[in-house]
C-alpha cells in the first residue's frame, strides 16, 4: 500500500492526466448530448497535450531562451534548460485539435438546423419516425 502511494505521489503528473483522459473518454462514450461529446473530446486531447508538455520539465530548469554570447563562451548545460521540443510539438497538436473542434462545431450547427436538437436520443427518434 505504502509503495503504491509513493508511486502515485512520485508520478502524480501522469496520474492526473490519466484521470483527465478517462473523464474525457467517459464523456465521449457515455454522454448523449453531442456538444458534451465534443467537450469530452477536447478534454481527452488536452490531457494528452499536458502529458507531452510535462515530459519536457526539469527540476529547476530555465526557459530555453539562450543568451548568444553566454552560450558561445560557456557552452550550454542541458540540465539547466527545460526541453522545448514537446512544447513545440504540442503547438502543432493544439492547432490540429482546434481545427477538429471547428469542423465538429460547424457540423453540429448543420445537425441542429436539420433536427432542431442536439440530443442524440431525440435525433435518432426523429430519424426513425
Amino acid at each position: 500500500m505504502d509503495q503504491l502511494l509513493t508511486e502515485i505521489v512520485g508520478k502524480y503528473n501522469y496520474w492526473l492526466y490519466v484521470v483527465l483522459m478517462m473523464i474525457g473518454f467517459y464523456a465521449m462514450i457515455g454522454k448523449r448530448n453531442l456538444v458534451k461529446k465534443l467537450l469530452g473530446m477536447n478534454i481527452f486531447q488536452t490531457a494528452i497535450i499536458l502529458f507531452y508538455v510535462s515530459t519536457g520539465v526539469k527540476r529547476g530548469g530555465q526557459i530555453p531562451i539562450l543568451d548568444k554570447h553566454a552560450a558561445l563562451s560557456h557552452g550550454v548545460d542541458a540540465s539547466q534548460i527545460i526541453n522545448p521540443l514537446p512544447h513545440v510539438l504540442m503547438l502543432t497538436a493544439i492547432v490540429v485539435s482546434v481545427s477538429v473542434t471547428g469542423v465538429a462545431l460547424a457540423i453540429l450547427v448543420r445537425i441542429y438546423r436539420e433536427y432542431g436538437t442536439l440530443e442524440e436520443d431525440e435525433i435518432l427518434e426523429k430519424i426513425r419516425s
Binding site: F51, V96, I111
Partner: protein, 496 residues
C-alpha cells in the same frame, strides 16, 4: 526540377491546385476540371517515374529543408512507399474524373469547396505514405481525417450526424496514436522512425514499449475500421456525397493499413512485433478472421448497394490486417498485393454505384431491376468488379486471395483460411443476388424517370471502364508485379 525531389512535387501539385481550385473555381466552375485533373496527371506521372527510379537504384531518404535527421523531418522513398504513391495518385486521378460529374449533379454551386477539400485530402494521403517521422505522421493523418470529415458532412440527410460520429471515433484513434508516439519519445528522445528503430532494441523488455505499440496499433485500427472498431465506417461512407465516396472508400482504409505496416516494421522490428509477446500475433489473426466473418454476415443483411459495399470494405480490412499479421513473407505479399487490388476493386464498384445513382437516383436493391438492359456497359464493369471481389481467376482479386490463403496455410492459421473461403462464398451470394435482380427481374412498369435512364454519361463511364480494365490487367500482370515490385517492397527480416 531534378529527379531527387520529384516525389515532393508529386505531393505539392495537388496541394497547390487545391488553393487554385478554390480561388478560380469560385469565379467559374470551368476551371475546376483542368486544374484538378492536370495536377493529378502530373502526380501520377511523377509517381511513375519515382517508382521506376526506386526500382532501378533502390530506395532513398530525403531531408526536407536540409534539416538533418533526427531533428528534421525525413521523407522515406522505398519501393513500398513509391508503389503507394503511384497507387494513390492513379486511383485519385481516375476517381476525380467520375467525381466531377457526380458532384456537378449532387452539389451544384459548391463544387469548388468540394474539390478544395478533395485535393488537400489527396496531398495528405501522398504525404502520409512518404513520411519517416512519427509525429509528422500524426499531423498528416489528421489532415486527411479533417478533410474527410468535411467531405462526408457535405452529404444530404443524416450525413452530418455520421460525420460527427466519425469525428469522435477518428479523434480517439488519432489521440491513441499520439499517445503511443509520446511513450516512444519519452523512451528514446526522438521521433524519427529510423532513429527510434535503432534505439529500441537496447530497451527490449520495457513494459512501456509494449504500451506504446498497443496504443499505436489500436489507434490505427480505429482509423482503418478493423472489425470491432468499425462502427463509424458504414454510415460515414454510405451517406457521403457519391463523389467523395469514390475516392475515400478505395484509399483511406488502404493507406491506414500501409501505415500499420510502417509502424510495425519501420519503428518496431518484425522480431519485436511478432515474437516478443507470444499469443498476440495468433490472437490478432483470430480477430481478423472473426472480422471477415462478421462483416460478411452484416453485408448480407443490407438492402442497399452502397451500404453493402461498405460492409465488404470492413471485411477487406480484415483480409489485409490478417495477412500482415500472419508473420511470413507469403502472407505479407498477399496483404501488399491486396492493398493494390482492393483499392482498384473498391474504385470500380463505387464508380459503378455512382454511375447507377447518377441515372436512377437510388441504390436500393428494388431499384436495380432491369439495369443490364438499360446500362449494359456500366453493369459489365460492375460484374468485373464483383468477380474480382469474389475472387474469380482472371481478375486481380483472385491472386491476392491466393497468396493470403497460401500464407495462412504456411503459418498454420486454418481459421484464417476458413474465413477467407467463407467470405468469398458470401461475396458470391451477395453479388449474384444483385446480378440476378439487375439481369433477370424486369421493371414491370418503368416509372417516369426509369424510362429516361440510359447509359451513364461519358465522364462516369470512362473512369469506370478504365478501372474495370485495370482489374483485369493487374490480375494478368500479377506475376511480374509481385516479382519485380512487391518482393522488393517487403520489409526486411520476415521469415521467407
Amino acid at each position: 526540377m531534378t529527379a531527387t525531389n520529384l516525389h515532393l512535387y508529386v505531393m505539392v501539385a495537388p496541394l497547390l491546385s487545391a488553393f487554385a481550385v478554390n480561388l478560380l473555381g469560385r469565379r467559374s466552375r470551368n476551371w475546376i476540371a483542368p486544374l484538378a485533373l492536370g495536377a493529378l496527371s502530373f502526380s501520377t506521372l511523377g509517381a511513375l517515374l519515382t517508382l521506376q527510379r526506386v526500382l532501378q537504384h533502390g530506395g532513398y531518404r530525403y531531408t526536407v529543408g536540409n534539416w538533418q535527421p533526427p531533428y528534421g523531418i525525413e521523407l522515406v522513398i522505398d519501393p513500398l512507399s513509391a508503389l503507394m504513391l503511384l497507387l494513390i495518385s492513379a486511383v485519385a486521378l481516375v476517381a476525380t474524373v467520375g467525381a466531377l460529374k457526380s458532384v456537378e449533379q449532387e452539389l451544384p454551386g459548391r463544387e469548388h469547396l468540394f474539390f478544395t477539400l478533395y485535393m488537400i485530402l489527396v496531398a495528405g494521403l501522398l504525404g502520409l505514405v512518404m513520411t519517416g517521422d512519427a509525429f509528422n505522421l500524426y499531423v498528416l493523418l489528421e489532415i486527411t481525417s479533417i478533410t474527410t470529415y468535411g467531405l462526408i458532412a457535405m452529404g444530404r440527410g443524416r450525413a452530418p450526424l455520421a460525420s460527427f460520429n466519425y469525428i469522435i471515433m477518428g479523434s480517439i484513434g488519432a489521440c491513441f496514436y499520439l499517445l503511443g508516439a509520446g511513450y516512444l519519445y519519452i523512451l528514446t528522445g526522438t521521433l524519427n522512425m529510423a532513429d527510434i528503430a535503432s534505439i529500441l532494441p537496447g530497451l527490449q523488455g520495457h513494459a512501456a514499449i509494449a504500451t506504446a505499440f498497443g496504443f499505436m496499433m489500436v489507434g490505427l485500427w480505429v482509423k482503418m475500421a478493423f472489425f470491432p472498431l468499425h462502427n463509424w465506417l458504414p454510415n460515414a461512407y454510405s451517406l457521403a456525397p457519391t463523389g467523395a465516396g469514390i475516392m475515400i472508400a478505395p484509399l483511406m482504409t488502404k493507406v491506414t493499413v500501409y501505415l500499420m505496416i510502417r509502424v510495425m516494421f519501420s519503428i518496431f522490428a518484425p522480431e519485436y512485433t511478432f515474437f516478443a509477446h507470444p499469443g498476440v500475433q495468433a490472437g490478432i489473426v483470430w480477430v481478423a478472421s472473426l472480422a471477415i466473418l462478421c462483416a460478411s454476415a452484416l453485408a448480407l443483411a443490407q438492402r442497399n448497394l452502397r451500404r453493402m459495399l461498405t460492409y465488404i470494405l470492413v471485411a477487406e480490412v480484415g483480409y489485409m490486417v490478417g495477412g500482415v499479421w500472419l508473420a511470413n513473407s507469403t502472407g505479407m505479399t498477399g496483404a501488399v498485393l491486396h492493398i493494390v487490388n482492393d483499392a482498384l476493386m473498391t474504385l470500380c464498384l463505387f464508380l459503378a454505384a455512382a454511375a447507377i445513382v447518377y441515372r436512377t437516383g437510388s441504390l436500393d436493391f428494388d431499384h436495380l431491376r432491369g439495369l443490364y438492359r438499360r446500362m449494359p456497359l456500366t453493369m459489365a464493369a460492375f460484374t468485373v468488379g464483383a468477380f474480382s471481389m469474389i475472387g474469380v481467376p482472371p481478375t486481380c482479386g483472385f491472386f491476392s486471395k491466393w497468396y493470403l490463403i497460401l500464407g495462412a496455410v504456411e503459418a498454420g492459421h486454418w481459421e484464417f483460411v476458413v474465413a477467407l473461403l467463407l467470405s468469398s462464398l458470401v461475396n458470391a451470394v451477395l453479388f449474384f443476388r444483385i446480378i440476378e435482380i439487375a439481369y433477370f427481374k424486369v421493371n414491370p412498369q418503368p416509372s417516369g424517370d426509369g424510362l429516361l435512364a440510359g447509359e451513364a454519361p461519358l465522364w462516369l463511364l470512362t473512369p469506370l471502364l478504365t478501372a474495370a480494365i485495370a482489374l483485369l490487367a493487374v490480375g494478368i500482370g500479377s506475376g511480374p508485379l509481385v516479382n519485380q515490385v512487391i518482393r522488393l517492397a517487403l520489409p526486411p527480416g520476415l521469415a521467407p
